[in-house]
């Protein structure tokens, strides 16, 4: 008898996992509220480069034919009785559940933020919001741009730095840099939160004349004057605020409720990826409480671990991250680490920028698992725990 697998969420992790389960052994149902699938990293280039590459595809077309697709909003998950309920009235019983519901922006907790983001745009939510941000940048003729994450939790940790560097590149290209002040603010003690990578990033910000305000956790924003005030008591006044909104988990009621943390992330075992306290549910991707970066690569590798476990070969997740990092002006780097091999600095290069662009083009193929053999090999060769890879990265820039 086939196992009934219910996958919640049609993002990177959910789609990859559903596609990887064999129809002879599994009866797979994927539940997603959206009929479309967004390539989220592409929003950066819509917002800062007015890129026209289509970022959205129909979810049905990305799924293997045997995956049963339910377009509906999940309202509750009863982990005790193994039952999922939807807004449309469906009740889905499961043998194994995989939560891949991602995260969403939630500007409601910071006074003034929803108003500002609604007027200026942002590059962490939707294509229309990213286009709005491009229009704001396109109109900018000089003054102060302040860019940063409003709270410490951020999907794609490199993205705030990528944003300020691409803003700098745009202003230089337009001859507006001399008339502009760029301020990068962060709730962390340093521009890039992981210290080894900060040794790469901080000199670049300095070289490009970008001011940095550390320990700046946004408390409130005056939507008229664009004045940002931090909970630490500091103030930044600007003409164009580009803000990474706070993120929360999906608004789903769980039984037991204790599986969610304060930010509505699902408490997940970092190695087995089982939802804490359960034997039949797993969580992958941005929806989890895992102590690692929220990224597509993480979701991809976590989906592989859960798929292997479901097939009867229990696997564990090493906490691997491998985030492409655009440093503007055609240069890039990667942030790679695991739970046991923390991030080490990776020197910027043009090749890494090309690799980032190539990965973006291959994204849609990777959802079907077509590229898994090549990607598995790449991840093995670039494993931060491998001595050879550490050597390839070259000496620590600070030494």
């Amino acid at each position: 008898m086939r196992q009934r697998i219910v996958v919640l969420g049609g993002g990177t992790g959910g789609t990859m996992l559903a596609n990887s389960l064999d129809r002879r052994r599994f009866e797979t149902t994927l539940v997603t509220a959206s009929t479309t699938h967004l390539f989220q990293p592409g929003l950066l280039y819509v917002a800062f480069k007015n890129a026209g590459t289509p970022l959205v595809r129909d979810e049905r077309g990305l799924l293997a034919r045997h995956v049963h697709l339910v377009h509906d909003t999940v309202t509750s998950v009863d982990l005790t009785h193994q039952l999922v309920e939807t807004a449309g009235g469906s009740r889905l019983a499961y043998d194994r559940l995989v939560v891949a519901t991602g995260i969403q922006t939630d500007p409601s907790g910071i006074p003034g933020l929803a108003d500002v983001v609604g007027r200026v745009g942002d590059y962490h939510s939707t294509v229309s919001q990213a286009r709005l941000l491009w229009q704001s940048l396109d109109r900018f003729r000089g003054g102060t741009i302040a860019l940063g994450q409003t709270t410490p939790i951020c999907k794609c940790p490199p993205s705030p730095i990528e944003g300020i560097l691409l803003a700098d590149e745009l202003l230089r290209r337009r001859g507006l840099r001399e008339r502009s002040r760029l301020v990068f603010f962060t709730p962390y003690p340093r521009p890039y939160p992981a210290e080894p990578m900060n040794h790469v990033v901080e000199p670049i910000l300095k070289e490009r004349g970008i001011e940095v305000a550390t320990f700046f956790d946004v408390d409130r924003i005056d939507p008229e004057s664009f004045t940002l005030t931090s909970i630490e008591g500091d103030v930044i006044e600007c003409d164009l605020p580009i803000l990474v909104p706070p993120f929360t988990g999906a608004p789903i009621a769980y039984e037991p409720a204790g599986v969610l943390d304060e930010s509505r992330f699902v408490r997940t075992d970092p190695r087995t990826l089982r939802v804490r306290g359960t034997g039949t549910a797993f969580a992958i991707g941005d929806a989890t409480s895992l102590p690692t970066s929220k990224s597509g690569v993480g979701a991809h590798l976590e989906a592989q671990v859960v798929a292997r476990t479901l097939r009867g070969s229990p696997a564990t997740f090493a906490g691997r991250t491998h985030c492409p990092f655009d440093l503007a002006h055609g240069r890039g780097t990667f942030v790679a680490g695991t739970y046991d091999a923390p991030v080490v600095p990776s020197p910027p290069s043009r090749l890494k920028h090309v690799m980032k662009a190539t990965f973006a083009r291959l994204y849609w193929l990777s959802l079907r698992g077509t590229l898994d053999p090549a990607l598995d090999l790449y991840f093995r060769l670039t494993d931060p725990a491998r001595p050879r890879w550490r050597g390839l990265r070259g000496p620590h820039p600070g030494t």
């Binding site: 410490p152 939790i153 939160p193 992981a194 210290e195 956790d217 630490e232 304060e262 930010s263 923390p342």
Partner: protein, 83 residues
Amino acid sequence: MDTTTQPPRTLVDSRGSSCPGPITDLSMAYRRSTVGDVIELWATDPGVKSDARAWSQKTGNPILSLDERADGTIVVIIEIKRR
């Protein structure tokens, strides 16, 4: 019966989380705190020592103690005086 009123203590368990996990968890706990609260941060990443000191200096919330236990857990206790 002990009638001493203890300030609310929030335990933030960041053990196993590497940089910047502990300072992320501390910042999120600070965001939810009120003046008079005490935050007890548990971490295993050694970077938490310098980060917590810098955070304390910046925010004006004193570190009451910073100890490393035999099992490697670093325990930072912070009193919230400014918010």
